[in-house]
């Protein structure tokens, strides 16, 4: 699905991402972890062609993301609030995103009904612009917009950070379900080790821009990661 070759991103002389080779196969669920400044968000941004790497390339289905825009058809991502059009109401935003994928209003409404539990009555028909929602609720809007696009590749940057415990559990169930029953490739970053090990089958651990661990999740993974992050 995704192949990264010889990727390097440098900010003011400091290498923030340095990935010689990484392959993510279709249907994998990837958990990306690492302390602040490890380069997780920068890696996300290079995969989404939002920043130009100094060296190397990112291939999505064999096509360089910087040269072709085909990846946009099957990729959905939510990194932060700058992905939302904040002066729209959530409904308007969903209709807009749906419209980009040739979905009718009825289709979008239908899809949103299936997310009623996830929204927990906080998003729809509240008479608020997205900018007036709390960070957690903005995150719900972002994730819902991703799901609406029926992607084959889903990328979420710290989706668990601002949402309430019930929504965290629902989101984990969504992610597992999308991956298992629909074969969607997911890449999720998080600081919560138990969430990641629960949802993802493969864990990438980043430190200072490098992927220093690439492990298949097993029963001992959580302990292993906790040991890595433990402070002495």
């Amino acid at each position: 699905m995704i192949e990264i070759k010889d990727l390097k991103k440098i900010y003011a002389g400091v290498t923030v991402v340095d990935v010689p080779h990484l392959e993510i196969r279709k249907g994998e669920s990837i958990g990306l972890i690492g302390n602040n400044g490890a380069g997780k968000t920068t890696l996300f941004r290079t995969i989404l062609d939002l920043i130009r790497p100094e060296k190397g390339e990112v291939l999505s289905r064999g096509e360089n993301v910087a040269h072709s825009e085909n990846w946009k058809k099957y990729t959905a991502a939510y990194l932060d609030e700058s992905f939302l059009i904040d002066y729209l109401t959530p409904e308007e935003y969903f209709y807009f995103i749906g419209g980009l994928h040739q979905q009718t209003h009825a289709y979008v409404d239908d899809h949103l009904t299936s997310l009623t539990d996830f929204f927990n009555g906080e998003i729809l028909n509240k008479g608020k612009y997205i900018r007036d929602l709390s960070k957690g609720n903005q995150c719900k809007v972002g994730v819902a917009a991703c799901l609406l696009q029926n992607p084959e590749l889903l990328m979420l940057d710290e989706p668990f950070a601002n949402i309430d415990p019930s929504t965290q559990i629902r989101l984990k169930n969504f992610l597992k379900d999308l991956n298992k029953s629909r074969g969607i490739t997911t890449i999720v970053s998080s600081h919560d080790l138990s969430h990641v090990t629960e949802v993802c089958e493969r864990i990438l651990l980043m430190e200072k821009g490098k992927i220093i661990k690439d492990i298949a999740t097993s029963s001992g993974t959580l302990r292993e990661l906790e040991e890595y992050f433990a402070v002495s």
Binding site: L48, D49, L50, I51, R52, E69, K72, K73, T75, A77, L79, D80, S82, F83, L84, I85, D86, Y87, L88, T89, E91, E92, F96, I97, G99, L100, H101, G127, K128, Y129, D132, Q149
Partner: protein, 490 residues
């Protein structure tokens, strides 16, 4: 404590990203402010001559005493429109062990550092020390100074107080505006009261009864205290911020459905313009400019060349005024656009469509200028074609070179955010190009041919629009990382 606050304030000013960083911006800002200051100074120093000319029957001091109150009424109106509330900056201090009174005193003090408090002093000081000191002695001059200073402070806190109240209750602002209009009308239209008389009644008697100076001073102190108490009672975040909470309904613009995805993008942008403070003022400016022609067409001094100038501005001010900051308006969700399925070609087409629509509405609104001759409407139409053909393309070319984000929630007055070299450079082709064509031909008495050429070039650009879109698109793909990076930097 107040000193610490002031130090922080200075730091926030110098370290803010919007304090014009480039030398060019600083120079332009400096020149503009100097120019304004110079204008006021000229008026100030010749106030006696101006008053002599305007009120030949009255003696100078009587005339002066008659106008002071008018100035302060006008001042109040302007403050109400333009002065910004110094509010949110106190947020970080609210939960620190700092006395509330200290915070409020600082807030009140900070509000004094506004240009509005400088104008009356600059404007009246020369006259007071030239004429009043000459006629009634130094003591009287200082009495006037104190009275004017007190009125300035009174106005300052009154306008802030009313603004703060209207943040909580929109009716206060409407009521206040209505009151000002009513006062104005009862003087100028109905002649029930005369501010000139009231003004003279006070300032005239000030010369003979120095104790009267206490009246404005007490007024200023009282309003300061009212403001102080009000702030103290309402020093809560949600009440300080100017956010109003009313039900926001989703809307659709059915007409735009016909244009498919491009129409959706235009609908979004129209919502952007209408739902955000700064962009809304760009639109208001467009409407104000519809009266621009009255300045030039009512006066025979201005020849036909001015029609080209007026026509370009009136039908194209939105393209210039809103377009100069593109795509900075969308900085807040630019990453989202780049990742979404929106083709940049459609994105550009949406801009063209938006400009064409607004420009067309502006052209329709200017048709009443036919009163001054049908030729004007013809020129306006030619310039409308020019605007949607050539100027839109120029503006979008520069939009690809604009890396500055715009914070939509801030007001437009005295807001230099997003202003950079791009905006200055953009001005040259926009203003000069039509006159490069029109000027020489008009000089050789062929203005009609000039208009025909302007129209043809405009039409040519409209026909070849897809070609320009393609060029702009490949240009954009070269620069998009830099644009997105600039927009991410808050």
């Amino acid at each position: 404590m107040t000193l610490t606050f002031i130090r922080h304030e200075l730091k926030s000013f110098w370290r803010s990203k919007n304090t014009g960083k480039t030398v060019a911006i600083r120079i332009i800002m400096g020149v503009l402010i100097l120019y304004l200051l110079l204008n006021v100074l000229v008026v100030a120093f010749f106030l006696d001559k101006i008053l002599e000319k305007s009120f030949p029957t009255q003696d100078l001091i009587t005339a002066f005493c008659g106008i002071v109150l008018y100035y302060f009424l006008f001042d109040l109106l302007m403050r109400f429109q333009l002065q910004e509330l110094p509010t949110l900056r106190v947020q970080p201090y609210l939960l620190l062990p700092v006395k509330k009174n200290a915070i409020i005193r600082y807030l009140s003090f900070a509000s004094l550092q506004s240009f509005f408090n400088l104008w009356p002093l600059i404007l009246f000081t020369p006259f007071i020390f030239k004429v009043i000191k000459h006629g009634h002695g130094l003591g009287a001059a200082w009495l006037f100074m104190v009275a004017i200073l007190a009125l300035t402070i009174f106005n300052n806190y009154l306008s802030l107080y009313i603004k703060r109240r209207s943040n909580l209750n929109g009716w206060v602002s409407i009521g206040f505006a209505a009151l000002l209009v009513l006062l104005g009308a009862s003087d100028f239209a109905w002649h029930v009261i005369s501010f000139s008389k009231i003004s003279f009644l006070y300032f005239g008697h000030l010369l003979t009864q120095p104790a009267l100076v206490l009246a404005p001073v007490i007024m200023a102190l009282v309003i300061y205290y009212i403001n102080f108490l009000y702030l103290k009672g309402n020093l809560y975040l949600e009440e300080l911020s100017s956010r109003k909470t009313s039900y926001k309904s989703s809307t659709e613009i059915p007409l735009l459905d016909k244009f498919g995805q491009v129409g959706d993008l235009v609908a979004n942008e129209i919502k952007l313009i209408l739902r955000n403070k700064r962009s809304r003022s760009a639109l208001t400016m467009t409407l104000m400019f519809m009266f621009y022609g009255l300045i030039f067409y009512t006066n025979k001094v201005y020849g036909d060349g001015w029609k080209v100038f007026c026509g370009m501005f009136m039908t194209g001010i939105f393209i210039i005024n809103y377009g100069q900051f593109m795509y900075g308006w969308q900085a807040g969700h630019f990453d989202g656009i780049l990742v979404s399925k929106v083709k940049f070609r459609d994105f550009l087409k949406a801009k063209y469509l938006l400009f064409t629509m607004v420009s067309f509405v502006a052209f329709i609104l200017t048709t009443p200028y036919a009163y001054f001759g049908w030729h004007i409407v013809l020129v306006h139409f030619v310039m409308f074609i020019w605007n949607i053909g050539v100027n839109t393309t120029i503006v979008l070319f520069f939009a690809n070179r604009n890396y500055k984000r715009i914070d939509l929630s801030k007001g437009a007055s005295f807001n230099w955010e997003g202003v950079g070299a791009t905006q200055l450079l953009l001005g040259f082709p926009l203003f000069i190009l039509p006159f490069v064509i029109y000027g020489p031909l008009a000089f050789f008495k062929h203005p009609d041919i000039a208009l025909a050429i302007l129209a043809s070039v405009g039409i040519l650009f409209i026909i070849t629009r897809n070609y320009w879109i393609k060029l702009l698109e490949s240009d954009f793909h070269e620069k998009k990382y830099k644009i997105a990076e600039g927009f991410r930097a808050k």
